[in-house]
Structure formats: structure tokens, C-alpha cells
């Protein structure tokens, strides 16, 4: 594993005894202490470590909740309320967990948008990026199942709508849905298995993060210039103490932001209907997923039957199936991004033409999110359809074409040069 060269030596007998059998100390010294990191990273590089810390917070609070939660339809809702009212500090742990999920997605989305802007997904970091997409998928599955556990109206009906989507698959659809449900509707069997899987998946995420960091340490972090490390002494600084303290500072900022929601607006990201116990016979006026799923929900709903009549080969699939495929495709297409992007320049700082499209893409994602939270009526449907179109158009057409046709600015010679303001070489 490439990292810092470890010149680790110790006078401590115990340390050496352990080191000889399991080189944990030299490993930590190389990967966390000496590890050379570009000296020009900005605060957008904090978000990876922040995501990791939030995961730890989620696991710890989740385990505490699991000690008092009952995954049975009769008792789930009241067990959560028991946590809120009777368990010591239960309300704090519950609000920590539910708002932590929102924090997790805020941090991870910013982390991803950083990657998109600075070309962090480009060679040789393709696998790093792809593992990241798998982490996102695992996070989304975890969050989806977690939201079902309180067994409120949105829990039940959100689960019903989303699991029903799989029935769109031809032939195997209906049997798959019954398999997922363990019954003929979302019911106790479903809730129980969602609890088991919700407990499991975060540890799968931990494993994926280990791989993510391993891949990262192979070629080290990207940086705002997109120019690779050329000379360790000039371009890098050791991770400790520079980035340990910077990450701690970033953590302080995050925790302050997080604490505001936990203590003063704990239900801000939620939906009131989930404080009503699930009733299979009463459908809520508007079924909405949690905010972090809204862009994907908008893409799913963009494929209406009317709209679909204008697509050739419409008879091959239903609008519902097209929506499902588009929804998953919107994430899976990101896997292809390292190859879709034909530019030789990583960082959008030096790609003025692409930069404009980048911000349009960001706004497009926000529009998709907004559309996803509204009722699917009138002009909102059209807006959603255009926003969906642009999402895919950006990734599949704009990214490669602009990458080939643009005239980028001259790159700095090196990271050190970019800081010192040395004259820049021609590209």
C-alpha cells in the first residue's frame, strides 16, 4: 500500500513487541501521520472525513436505539415513542440518529459535487469513484429501510410505493415483490427483515469505506489544481498535524450545524405524517420520500404515460418500468463518468466552458429535488421532465463533448507553483 514512507521506530519494548507481530504502529504512522497530502486542499476536502465521522455517530446511536426498539408492527411505533419519552436521553439519541441521516446525505452530496467539479473521478482514481457510488447506493438502501422502522404513515406508504416499483419488471416483477415483502402487502415480515438489513448494511458500508480509503491512498488525494503531486517535499505536507487539525476544525463546524437541528428544529427534515401510526387502509394526501431521495423520485415520476407515447418502442416497456430504470440509471450512469469525461484537464478551475455547465447541472439537481417534493400536477410535470432530460443530457452528451471541444486555461506547473504564483507553463 502506498502511503508515507514509514520511518517508524520506537524505544518502547511493548510497542516493538506488538509491531513485530502486527505492524499496526508503522501502518498508522504511514497512513495517518506521515501520509503526504497536497498542501493546497481547500475546505471541500473536509467532507470525506466528516462523512466518516457521521457514519460512526449513526452506528453508535443506531445500536443504542436498537436496544429499545421492537421491530413488530404492533409495537414498533410505540417502542419509538417509549424511547422518546421513557428511555434516559432517548429523545436525544433518536433525534441524533434521524437528523444524522440528513447530515450524512448533505455531507456526501457535497463530497460528490466536489469530485464532479475537480475531476477527482478521473484516472487513476476511477475505482475510488466507483466504490464511492457503491457506498452511496448502500447508504440509500440503509436510509430507505431505516425510515420504515418507526412504522408511521410515511414509513408504511413509502415502503409500499417503492417496493411496488419492482412489479414493473416483466415476468419476474410480481414474484420479486412478494419475495421482498414476505407477504402480499408490506407487513410485519417486511418490517422485521428491514430491521435486520438496516442493522447489517452500515457494516457493509464500513467495509466499502476501507476499500475507498485504500484506493485513495494508492494515488493520494486530488487537489484544486488537478495537477498531480510531482515532488513530495514541495507539493505535500504530512497529514498530521496539518489535516488532522483542519479536519477537527471542520468537525467542530459540522457539529455546531448539526446541533442546531437536533436541539432546535429536530423535525425540520421530516414529515408530520410519520407521527401518525401506519394505517394500511388510509393513504396520506401526498406520499413523499425523505428529502435526500427527492431528485430520484422526480426522475421516477417524470415518465408519465402520456409522455411515453412519443417514445419509439414504447410497447416494449411501461412508463412505470421506464421510470424505474431511469431512476437507477441516474446513479449507475455516474459509474461511467471517468470514461464519459474526455477532457485531459481535471479541475474545472481551468475549464471555464465546462464550469458553466457544471453549475447548470447543480441547479438542475436542485430543481429535480424541488419537483420531487411537489404534487405531480400541471407545469411541475413538464419541469420535472425537462430537468430529467437535462440530467442525462449533461452526463452523457455535455460532459464528453465539452471535454473534447473546450479550450482550457493553462495549468500550473505543479502544486507548489500554483501556490507560489510561478509563471504557468503552456498546457
Amino acid at each position: 500500500m502506498s502511503g508515507g514512507t514509514s520511518k517508524f521506530q520506537s524505544n518502547n519494548g511493548l510497542v516493538n513487541w506488538v509491531e513485530h507481530r502486527l505492524p499496526i504502529f508503522s501502518f498508522m504512522d504511514a497512513q495517518l501521520n506521515q501520509y503526504p497530502t497536497p498542501k493546497n486542499l481547500n475546505y471541500f476536502w473536509n467532507f470525506g472525513s466528516l462523512a466518516g465521522i457521521i457514519l460512526v455517530i449513526m452506528i453508535v446511536s443506531g445500536i443504542a436505539l436498537a436496544m429499545s426498539y421492537t421491530p413488530h408492527t404492533e409495537f414498533a411505533f410505540s417502542s419509538v415513542e417509549r424511547i422518546m419519552r421513557d428511555v434516559n436521553s432517548g429523545w436525544l439519541i433518536r433525534y441524533l440518529h434521524v437528523n444524522g441521516a440528513s447530515m450524512f446525505f448533505i455531507v456526501v452530496y457535497i463530497h460528490m459535487f466536489r469530485g464532479l467539479y475537480y475531476g477527482s473521478y478521473k484516472a487513476p482514481r476511477e475505482i475510488l469513484w466507483m466504490i464511492g457510488i457503491f457506498i452511496l447506493l448502500a447508504m440509500m438502501a440503509t436510509a430507505f429501510m431505516g425510515y420504515v422502522l418507526p412504522w408511521g404513515q410515511m414509513s408504511f406508504w413509502g415502503a409500499t410505493v417503492i417496493t411496488n416499483l419492482f412489479s414493473a419488471l416483466p415476468i419476474i416483477g410480481e414474484p420479486i415483490v412478494k419475495l421482498l415483502w414476505g407477504g402480499f402487502v408490506v407487513e410485519n415480515a417486511t418490517l422485521n427483515r428491514f430491521f435486520a438489513l438496516h442493522y447489517l448494511l452500515p457494516f457493509v458500508i464500513v467495509g466499502l469505506i476501507f476499500m475507498h480509503l485504500w484506493a485513495l491512498h494508492m494515488h493520494h488525494s486530488n487537489n484544486p489544481t488537478g495537477v498531480e503531486i510531482k515532488d513530495e517535499k514541495q507539493d505535500t505536507i504530512p497529514f498530521h498535524p496539518y489535516y488532522t487539525i483542519k479536519d477537527l476544525y471542520g468537525l467542530g463546524l459540522l457539529l455546531t450545524f448539526f446541533a442546531f437541528f437536533i436541539f432546535f428544529a429536530p423535525n425540520y427534515f421530516g414529515h408530520p405524517d410519520n407521527y401518525i401510526m401506519a394505517d394500511p387502509l388510509v393513504t396520506p394526501a401526498h406520499i413523499v420520500p425523505e428529502w435526500y431521495f427527492l431528485p430520484f423520485y422526480a426522475i421516477l415520476r417524470a415518465f408519465t404515460t402520456d409522455f411515453f407515447m412519443y417514445i419509439p418502442f414504447a410497447w416494449l416497456m411501461s412508463a412505470k418500468l421506464a421510470g424505474v430504470i431511469a431512476m437507477f440509471a441516474s446513479i449507475l450512469v455516474l459509474l461511467a463518468l471517468p470514461w464519459l469525461d474526455r477532457s485531459h484537464i481535471r479541475s474545472s478551475n481551468y475549464r471555464p466552458a465546462f464550469r458553466i455547465f457544471y453549475w447548470v447541472f447543480v441547479i438542475d439537481c436542485l430543481v429535480l429535488g424541488w419537483v420531487g417534493g411537489q404534487a405531480a400536477e400541471g407545469i411541475l410535470v413538464t419541469i420535472g421532465q425537462w430537468a430529467t432530460f437535462w440530467y442525462f443530457f449533461h452526463l452523457i452528451i455535455v460532459v464528453p463533448v465539452v471535454g473534447v471541444l473546450e479550450r482550457p486555461k493553462a495549468l500550473p506547473n505543479s502544486i507548489a507553483a500554483s501556490i507560489n504564483g510561478a509563471p504557468q507553463a503552456a498546457e
Partner: protein, 275 residues
């Protein structure tokens, strides 16, 4: 450049938050009036006198049809009652216990450990008693109809524009009945017109007529007064931890601001030679 980047990040986060806040599907009907509740704001607390009056309203008016399943009699200590008063209040009610030695279920007076007994055996009985409509349990009503009992800082951009404050909605509903439906509105038989209820036709008749309750502390029981009191009580029922949560929140955030400032100073100190 750094500043621009940071500001952009904040701007985006802000946009997301505002965007999120307006993504929630709106409750139909006019927005209820915004009340300056004692429990609002960063330093919000419950008005104990109002809580006790509200509890009186709940006991005498609401409890006939609505359950309060998640509240236990022992929780009433938070309203300012002592141990003996709570025992006495509990003993006024009967709960089912058993089976006894003969295998039968029996009724006994409630103890503080018991939860509030429902006025009906199950939801079907409730519907039968109320013309087909089930009176909802009120333990979480203010969190189930809006953004709970608090929006910490009354900055309008941070309040979910789609959801009213739960307390504002409940108070609005209780005071929002009209004698007659407006001209042109088709009000079904057996329903009543309410300004704030989604769809306007509600199965519950106006519950808080003038002087419906004679307050123990002598306060005049106008509809508005009773509504404010019972709403305060219901916010407490939904969020008994509110005061503790906000007090702890102030301490935690102050601590974090100090710690973050120290971390920033240390970061600048350590990075001094690199910049």
C-alpha cells in the same frame, strides 16, 4: 478564492435548506395565525399555569372521545402536580387489569404508572361512537399536523412553508369553526365547516363553547383562552422533553462554538508556516 468557495458552499446549503423547506406538499386551506407561544424560540418554556388549565380542558372536553395513549399519569408531575396530587388524579380513572385468579379481566383504579385509559376499547368502537369518524389519539397531534411545537428561531425562511407550526394549526382549528359554511360551499350532512381543516368539512363539532370548563384558577374560559391552554397542553403531550432539549441545546451549541473557535486558532497556528 477560498472565501468565494466557502461562501458558495454556504449559499448552496442555504438554497438546499430553503428548497427543502418549500418542497413539502402544502396543507390545503389558509395558513393559521402565528401565535407567540411561550414554548417558542431558543429559550422557550412551558407556562405551567396554562398547562394545568389545558389539562383541565382536556380532561373535561376532549377525553370523552380522544385517547392520550402515550402519556402516563406519572408524567403529569411535569405540570407542577406533586406525588399525591398525581395519585389522586390517576385514581379518578379506571384501567383494565388481569386476568385474576378466576381468569377474568377486571377494572381497577389507575396508578401513576398507568397510561391514560382510552375512552373506547378499540378504533372500531371509536368510529361507531362518532358517526364513522375515528377521533385521533392526541399524544402526538401537534407533531403530526405540523412542525411540532417549536420552530426554534422565528426566521421565516427557515420555517417549512408547507407546514404550519403544529401548535398554530391545532389552535387555529379549535377556534376556526364557522356557524355557517360560506355561500357555494357544499357541506355534507353531519359535518361542520372549519377554516383550517384540510377540505374544510370536519366531523368534530366545535368543542370549546364559551365557559365549557370552569377553570380552577379562576381564569375566564373564553373559547380562545381554552384553545390556547389545551394547545399548550397538547404540545407538552407531544414533546415533554422540549424545555430540557432547548436548555441543553443552548449549552451544547455554546460549548461547540468555543471548541470550534479554539480548533480554528490552533489550525491557523499550525498552518502558519505553510501559508
Amino acid at each position: 478564492m477560498q472565501i468565494i468557495k466557502t461562501l458558495t458552499a454556504i449559499a448552496i446549503t442555504g438554497t438546499v435548506i430553503i428548497g427543502v423547506s418549500s418542497t413539502q406538499a402544502a396543507v390545503s386551506g389558509p395558513k393559521p395565525e402565528s401565535i407567540n407561544w411561550s414554548f417558542n424560540g431558543v429559550f422557550g418554556t412551558y407556562d405551567r399555569a396554562s398547562l394545568q388549565r389545558g389539562f383541565q380542558v382536556f380532561q373535561n372536553v376532549c377525553a370523552g372521545c380522544h385517547s392520550l395513549n402515550l402519556v402516563a399519569f406519572r408524567n403529569l408531575k411535569a405540570l407542577g402536580y406533586n406525588e399525591n396530587e398525581v395519585k389522586a388524579i390517576a385514581a379518578e380513572y379506571e384501567v383494565q387489569d388481569g386476568p385474576n385468579e378466576d381468569g377474568d379481566m377486571f377494572d381497577r383504579p389507575a396508578t401513576p404508572a398507568d397510561h391514560w385509559p382510552a375512552p373506547f376499547a378499540n378504533s372500531r368502537a371509536a368510529a361507531a361512537m362518532n358517526g364513522g369518524a375515528v377521533p385521533p389519539d392526541l399524544s402526538l397531534i401537534t407533531k403530526a399536523r405540523g412542525s411540532g411545537g417549536d420552530s426554534a428561531i422565528r426566521v421565516s425562511m427557515l420555517q417549512p412553508s408547507g407546514f404550519p407550526l403544529g401548535a398554530d394549526y391545532v389552535h387555529g382549528l379549535l377556534t376556526g369553526y364557522l356557524e355557517e359554511a360560506p355561500v357555494g360551499f357544499d357541506l355534507p350532512e353531519g359535518k361542520y365547516y372549519n377554516k383550517y381543516y384540510p377540505g374544510h368539512s370536519i366531523a368534530m363539532s366545535s368543542p370549546l363553547g364559551e365557559d365549557a370548563v370552569e377553570y380552577n384558577d379562576g381564569t375566564k374560559a373564553t373559547t380562545d383562552q381554552m384553545s390556547r391552554d389545551v394547545t399548550t397542553f397538547l404540545v407538552w403531550a407531544s414533546e415533554p422533553e422540549l424545555e430540557h432539549r432547548k436548555q441543553l441545546g443552548v449549552k451544547v451549541i455554546l460549548f461547540l462554538i468555543v471548541l470550534t473557535a479554539m480548533l480554528y486558532a490552533l489550525k491557523r497556528r499550525i498552518w502558519a508556516n505553510v501559508h
